[in-house]
């Protein structure tokens, strides 16, 4: 059963998009998944930027990938598609931002609001 729902038979037929046979081989021998998650942003209008791997990475590397992601930080502004990590975990795949994040604008307080202390 492929991710799109096609039932692929033992002789690797039945898929619609043509990627069936390759998918099945991978699924059995070396399954791969796209990783989508978030990375912390500093100075941004939102605290996290959503990220993805540009292609699938080996499924057994997901846990490790999450641990690495958890320690990453990126500084705003972030643009859609910006490369966060070029050769993510040496898989040859990029980790990119999937949304843009504007930099937060610091409000300047007027003088009568500032204390003299």
């Amino acid at each position: 059963m492929c991710p799109n729902g096609c039932e692929i038979t033992e002789d690797l037929n039945g898929g619609m998009c043509g990627k069936g046979p390759a998918y099945v081989q991978n699924e059995i021998l070396s399954p791969r998944r796209t990783l989508t998650s978030s990375v912390k942003v500093t100075d941004g209008v939102i605290p996290l930027v959503s990220v993805r791997t540009t292609e699938t990475i080996p499924k057994d590397k997901l846990r490790e990938a999450m641990a690495i992601l958890a320690k990453m930080t990126v500084k705003a502004p972030v643009s859609l598609g910006q490369i966060i990590a070029a050769d993510f975990m040496e898989t040859g795949v990029q980790l990119i931002a999937t949304k843009s994040v504007d930099q937060i604008r610091v409000e300047i307080k007027s003088t009568d609001q500032m204390s003299l202390e």
Binding site: S38, V39, K40, P47, L48, A70
Partner: protein, 495 residues
């Protein structure tokens, strides 16, 4: 140790009304209130039908009847002073069968004896005129019955009391009461001597023990009033908790029920004699049920059960066809502090008065329905017991004058279901802090109506948290659902 002239245990409608009554008339009286919950109206004052009863359901000659009728008569004035919404919708008690008819007559008679005005027996042909479209062969129309928001009312009483100088202590659970004898130089009359009562309480926020001293002690602890009495050495009372479950229906249904409708209880049919009550905000509530707890069962078990929910829907639909369980947006429960057990059954009046055994202690035990309606008359009754014995000052009192004042601020909608602006939420939060209560989502909900709509908070909960973080610097890990351990989150996703 903090010292007071009067210390009130329990900041529900009755406790708050007493504080207001005292401080309204005696600017010099030093009043304190201890409340175990983080905020006011988390107990029975916030778990009821929101009905102003007219007094025909109470036994003639009882304190319940007398105070209920006083409460009903005086409510326009009080609601006006407090700045709360109130509608005298009237109510219909429906007779479905021939054998119900004499009961209607009895109720009318009882009401008239109690002084209830506006009672009339009507027949089916007049139902429409009284805004009712459902089943029944005849009904008792009670013109004086009304509906209001019990949160708004209880909170307004608290805010007024606080503005008048009452000190509120939330999250304080009373654990012990020491009483000094009169001959030890302590007198409960405000003249010479040390305070008569020393109350020990545990601060639920930080676990510390605190002590409060007072000349007079008022036990308005609702469900726990018997336990407070016991701590003071009075073992005369036992509360039998009796839970009532309610269903709240989505607003999309309403507009079709204008007034409370109750069937005449019919013993042959059994069942609950389930009530349908519109709220002042336009939802319909079905309930309450009546379920006595067994010995040793936790008193504050506000859980709802499948069986009762099914019965409520079934009986509700009999009175009001078209009601379905999927129209229910929320269920809740309240527990009545009954003074009679299930087996005893029958009737028990309010216990209100100064204890003979422990002078200076004012007992308020068994304040179930019509407690809310009677709350201000109860307060006046308690005040009259105390007034000549507490410090007196005829200076002008401070009421909350700016309750109705318009405020400029962000009109951005935060709760779409109920059309509540950001400004309203911030005001609610500020009001919580102003009386010294501990901020909770529930407290904000009770004041601002957020999360009470169709989505039950699935859209606005996150917005409320963000708003308070941004505009009031509130740490989102500090804000709980209903206090203390009811945290919203277990941590951050990314530190």
């Amino acid at each position: 140790m903090k010292r007071f002239d009067i210390l009130i245990i329990g900041a529900g409608a009755v406790g708050n009304a007493i504080a207001r009554e005292i401080t309204k008339n005696n600017a010099a009286a030093n009043v304190g209130i201890l409340e175990k919950e983080p905020d006011t109206a988390f107990g029975i004052s916030g778990r009821n039908s929101g009905v102003l009863h007219a007094g025909f359901n109470n036994r003639a000659g009882s304190l319940m009847a007398k105070l209920c009728v006083q409460g009903s008569e005086g409510f326009e004035k009080e609601a006006g002073e407090l700045g709360i919404s109130f509608k005298r919708t009237g109510k219909l008690v429906i007779a479905r069968h021939e054998e119900d008819l004499p009961k209607l007559d009895k109720l009318k008679e009882q009401g008239e004896t109690n002084g209830t005005r506006g009672l009339k027996i009507i027949d089916r042909t007049d139902f429409q005129k009284h805004n009712y479209d459902g089943i029944g062969i005849a009904a008792l129309w009670s013109g004086m019955t009304g509906i209001f928001d019990p949160f708004e009312y209880t909170i307004a009483l608290a805010e007024t009391s606080a503005a008048n100088g009452t000190s509120y202590y939330f999250g304080r659970q009373v654990t012990a009461i020491e009483t000094a004898e009169a001959d030890q130089g302590m007198r409960p009359d405000g003249k010479n001597g040390e305070e008569r009562f020393i109350v020990t309480a545990r601060n639920r926020k930080n676990g510390e023990t605190e002590q409060f001293a007072s000349q007079f002690l008022i036990n308005s602890a609702g469900l726990y009033s018997d336990e407070i009495c016991r701590m003071a050495g009075i073992h005369d009372y036992r509360i039998y908790p009796c839970r009532g479950e309610y269903h709240i229906l989505d607003k999309k249904l309403s507009g079709s029920l204008e007034l409370p409708v109750y069937p005449v209880p019919n013993e042959k049919e059994g069942g609950l004699g389930v009530h349908l009550t519109p709220t002042i905000h336009g939802n319909i509530m079905i309930g309450p049920s009546a379920e006595y707890f067994s010995e040793g069962q936790e008193r504050e078990d506000y859980g709802t059960s499948r069986e009762v929910m099914d019965v409520l829907i079934r009986e509700g639909a009999e009175l009001f066809p078209g009601i379905q369980s999927k129209d229910c947006i929320r269920s809740f429960a309240g527990v009545r502090p009954k003074l009679t057990s299930k087996t005893q059954g029958g009737y028990s009046d309010f216990v209100i008065g100064e204890s003979e055994k422990v002078p200076g202690l004012i007992e308020l035990v068994g304040i179930e329905s019509p407690g809310l309606t009677s709350s201000i008359p109860i307060a006046k009754m308690v005040y009259s017991i105390l007034k000549d014995r507490i410090p007196h000052n005829t200076g002008t009192h401070k009421e909350v004058q700016d309750r109705l004042k318009q405020r400029k601020g962000s009109q951005k909608m935060i709760c779409l279901c109920e059309s509540i602006t950001e400004e309203t939420v911030l005001e609610a939060y500020d009001k919580i802090l102003k009386i010294g209560a501990i901020p909770t989502i529930k407290g904000i909900k009770n004041r601002a109506r957020v999360t009470m709509g169709s989505c039950q908070g699935s859209f606005c909960t996150t917005q409320i948290i963000e708003l308070l973080a941004k505009k009031r610097d509130l740490d989102p890990f500090e804000l709980t659902w209903n206090g203390f351990e009811s945290h919203l989150f277990t941590g951050r996703v990314r530190e």
